[in-house]
């Protein structure tokens, strides 16, 4: 998979896809999976990121989601946190060519 690498990133979040329908989900501070990137827990630094990922993968995680992983997010003065890569931006919003589909459709 392309654009997964988060090496050297300061801020990271954990994402996965939901088992039953494949929906993109984010691991939250409350220890749940959310459909919205805005609710994602943000880890500051490599150690916090590893801890966040470990928290997202208890023994039974596969009953709910597929393949949790870390990805880089950037801090933006205006909009708060945003995914760093095009790939994760598209996952967080939906296809750039169909604004009526994916999470962006629900948001608008």
């Amino acid at each position: 998979m392309a654009q997964h690498s988060a090496k050297g990133a300061r801020f990271q979040a954990v994402t996965a896809n939901r088992l039953t329908d494949g929906e993109v989900v984010y691991f939250t501070d409350a220890g749940h999976w959310s459909l919205s990137f805005s609710e994602a827990a943000i880890a500051d630094g490599a150690e916090a990121a590893e801890a966040l990922l470990a928290g997202a993968m208890p023994a039974d995680f596969e009953a709910h989601v597929l393949d949790p992983y870390l990805f880089e997010v950037l801090q933006d003065a205006q909009t708060g946190y945003q995914p760093a890569s095009v790939r994760e931006t598209i996952r967080a919003k939906g296809p750039t060519i169909r604004l009526d589909l994916g999470k962006q459709a629900i948001a608008s």
């Binding site: 998979m1 392309a2 654009q3 896809n17 088992l19 039953t20 329908d21 494949g22 929906e23 993109v24 039974d60 596969e62 009953a63 597929l66 393949d67 880089e72 760093a84 890569s85 095009v86 790939r87 598209i90 996952r91 939906g94 296809p95 750039t96 060519i97 169909r98 589909l101 994916g102």
Partner: protein, 551 residues
């Protein structure tokens, strides 16, 4: 068209039940994702960026109107109102929920369709010429042997866990519309001096990271022995193909590393043993049984010209253009082959809505002998339409955004789903296709440019066939940002060739200007009636490159 007998029905039904059990075991937590993944992949279920994706097989690209209506129904009921026709003549649904896929497959089975072997390291859907049975000068309808190959390869006990995926394409015509030389096995139907039909077999073509044009392994394999020959190729590959590196696991690498001569010797030795056993010699009765399903439809005896068509063309310029670009001569006088472009200006290549699929199904039923074809260039075909009916068909297509007169033109782009959907992609493909299409929206300009095949892939796996585009575009990822590399001079037809990379890649902002620049070079350089590819083959890379990278 082929119709299932009781055994075909039973096997597909058993497969649906098998998959239903697999999904139930996964959702109930009885099997891990590691164990489930190969099972879902064997049935065409991928996990993409936003959701699961299901790939449904359309054997050799042939559909009945009933099947097309089912595809529309599935798009409505299980997806978000559309489907995506692919370069492998299949359809993909982008949003089905995993726990509903068994029900979807059960509905699909009711119209004799399935998702069997649309993924995994097995023999995939056999692809063929979209004009099969409708075009003049065909040696034999390629769907006959394609159906025999489909059956032989379905649940093949020996070849379901090959080193890598395996694709077979068949053409029955000297003009290759199935890109057979870019397949693991490409078959050309030929006639020998005695007038007997046989098969010329090419092995080891493919695209991806390391593209190769297939090597001709045999000039003539008799019809009854083709399965024995194919089994020999498969066995040599399964025994000797590399399993240590998935990038070197396709048969093209085996042929390349073994050498053409040695590969031929190995295949012939294996073939001799299998053939001697007679166990794969296909009975003539079975060839005849399957051939009967592909007998030419009962078309009327009509004059070659249609007065009503001529009148309509004279009074409607847009219609006239559409007939010129999108309608191809039929073997039967008074009929035409209608190409339905799924490349509206600025649209998404290969996508069709549920409503559009229903409209096409209705047209096929009323005007085209109940048949629809899918092309590897992501368009659809109504294979048998009376010239007298063309205007009516056109008007309906036009009303549903399906009458873009751009077949083979610069806006008739192949594009993979790219980073908008695909888990493997490095860059987006569809937005580029849309921008190019919008830039060259003016049809007169497209007609002046003439045939120009642009093919766009969002990663090195080359699902968008960029290696064989007259202009190929490959998306690459540089630290999370998209870049696009251009190649020139590729071709997927009977004179197949691989494109040459021009040089450094372009940004998203620059790439359409770069394409415009290449087109301008061609227009300046062309002589007589040369197409882009002809000019490139005559003058080579240098003049294009100089202008492309001029400061």
């Amino acid at each position: 068209m082929y119709r299932y007998d009781e055994f075909d029905h039973q096997l597909v039904a058993e497969r649906v039940e098998q998959f239903r059990g697999q999904v139930a075991r996964r959702v109930a937590g009885e099997i891990t994702e590691d164990a489930f993944k190969p099972l879902r992949l064997m049935n065409g279920v991928y996990l993409q960026l936003h959701a699961y994706m299901l790939r449904v097989a359309i054997p050799y690209g042939t559909l009945s109107s009933k099947q097309m209506r089912m595809l529309a129904h599935l798009a409505r009921e299980y997806d978000r109102g559309y489907g995506h026709f692919t370069t492998r003549q299949n359809i993909q649904y982008n949003w089905p929920a995993l726990d509903r896929i068994p029900d979807l497959l059960q509905e699909l089975a009711s119209v004799e369709m399935h998702a069997i072997q649309t993924s995994g390291n097995c023999i995939r859907n056999v692809t063929s010429d979209q004009y099969a049975g409708a075009i003049a000068d065909e040696v034999e309808d390629p769907r006959i042997i394609s159906e025999i190959i489909r059956q032989w390869s379905t649940f093949h006990p020996e070849f379901s866990y090959l080193p890598r995926k395996f694709k077979i394409a068949v053409t029955g015509h000297k003009n290759d519309r199935a890109a057979i030389k870019l397949h693991d096995i490409g078959i050309v139907i030929v006639k020998n001096a005695a007038g007997e039909i046989g098969y010329e077999v090419h092995v080891g073509g493919g695209q991806g990271r390391t593209p190769f044009i297939a090597k001709k392994m045999s000039d003539f394999v008799p019809a009854a022995q083709l399965l024995a020959y194919l089994e020999a190729v498969m066995r040599v590959y399964n025994m000797l193909g590399r399993r240590d590196n998935s990038y070197k696991a396709r048969i093209k690498i085996l042929v390349h590393e073994t050498g053409e001569e040695e590969m031929r010797r190995l295949v012939e030795a294996e073939f001799a043993k299998i053939d001697a056993s007679q166990m794969l010699t296909v009975p003539q009765e079975e060839i005849d049984r399957i051939a009967a399903y592909f007998a030419p439809p009962a078309l009327q005896e009509l004059p070659a010209a249609s007065a009503s068509l001529d009148a309509a063309r004279a009074s409607d310029t847009a219609f006239d253009h559409w007939v010129t670009t999108n309608v191809v001569s039929h073997v039967k006088p008074g009929y035409g082959i209608v190409n339905i472009s799924l490349k509206p200006i600025g649209g998404i290549p290969g996508d069709a809505s549920d409503a559009q699929m229903d409209v096409i199904a209705d047209l096929a039923e009323t005007y085209a002998q109940d048949e629809v074809r899918v092309t590897h260039e992501q368009n659809l075909v109504l294979p048998h339409v009376k010239l007298d009916d063309l205007k009516t068909v056109y008007d309906t297509l036009l009303a549903h955004g399906l009458a873009t007169p751009n077949l083979g033109m610069i806006s008739d782009t192949i594009a993979c789903p790219g980073l908008d959907y695909c888990n493997l992609a490095n860059a987006r493909s569809i937005p580029l296709a849309q921008e190019i299409s919008n830039r060259f929206a003016d049809l007169d300009r497209q007609y002046d440019i003439g045939e120009l095949k642009i093919k766009i892939s969002g990663c090195i796996n080359a699902c968008g066939h960029h290696h064989v585009g007259h202009i190929g575009i490959l998306g690459v990822d540089k630290k999370g940002t998209e870049f696009y590399q251009i190649s020139l001079g590729g071709s997927a037809d009977e004179n197949a060739s691989l494109g040459d990379i021009t040089g450094r890649a372009f940004t998203e902002d620059d790439i359409v200007d770069a394409i415009e620049n290449l087109v301008a070079s061609y227009v300046d350089l062309r002589q007589g009636g040369e197409r882009f590819i002809d000019t490139y083959r005559r003058v080579g890379m240098q003049p294009f490159k100089e202008r492309l990278y001029a400061e």
